[in-house]
Symmetry: C2
Amino acid sequence: MQYDFVNELGYLGLAVRLKRLSEAMVHSGRQMYKTLGKDIEPNWFLIFKLLKKYDQLSVTEMASKLHFSHPSVITMATKMEKAGYLNASADKNDSRKKNYTLSQKALDNLPGFEAIWDAGIEGTKKLFGEGSTFMDQLESLEILYSQKDFKTRTINELSNE
Amino acid sequence: MQYDFVNELGYLGLAVRLKRLSEAMVHSGRQMYKTLGKDIEPNWFLIFKLLKKYDQLSVTEMASKLHFSHPSVITMATKMEKAGYLNASADKNDSRKKNYTLSQKALDNLPGFEAIWDAGIEGTKKLFGEGSTFMDQLESLEILYSQKDFKTRTINELSNE
DNA sequence: TCATTTTATGTAGTCAACTACATAATTTTA
DNA sequence: TAAAATTATGTAGTTGACTACATAAAATGA
């Protein structure tokens, strides 16, 4: 890897590096689907997997399970519906709710998509190697950031001086 | 932490989790500056640190050292200039180049900012605990993603079946 | 030396997340 | 049971990264 000033900054550059890495992964994923001739986008696996598990979910239910804002879910779901992968229907008991299910096209294509996702998981597993604690540490980070955030921790450090 | 479907997906959800975590950090950083009454934005530390080390740099030089696109650097540097933290001047030998240096205001405020950044680093260090290999593993991930990307690795896995 | 290529900056438009606000339906409560 | 509060979806606008294109200056080379 060529010279990278951000890496020199250690923990200070952490947020920037996490974002860059994530963007690199998403970009690469988009290329992969293109190469394999699949007309889906990088984050759609979230909704495919959700609806595979829960059969039918509304916008808000998906947003809550994914920890995404509801407008983000609307954007994703609308695209997937236009691409023919989702069916939408109004809820019988609550006419505000819009329920989504997987379409026949989704069910037909899912095995192929899952083969790709499983291959991606295998590749990542190999990349980390045996006994990696990266995912555990990521989990800890997430928990700590949700409990007591960066701002609070830094301000505490400042007042300890 | 409440139920999170993305975490259930293991490595498949990695990119989403890295992005969310990064966004949470940036959001929290923004709040922190607000609380402490500092009129700077989360990523500005990159340019403060760069110009502290190199004194004078052009747009392209900064972009290359940070691995950012040059339009991103222009956006950041223009904001910092408007806030009075940077001075811009045309290069003597090459009139295309725009050189940036830290302003007097930047030099006056830098010690205060560095105290905040150092506190942030300390907080993060404590959070990881002794002997953490998280940053090393992040580095490996970055290197591996720059050498042979996700797409390539996944397609390799697919063809190994 | 002048035509071509490369480099530096700037501009426009895209993308995927977000917040804030709007509207309609449901639920709660006085 | 009617008013108030809450909930579900939708819309508009913001943000910070990006790519693609435009323009001007400098460097290269026939």
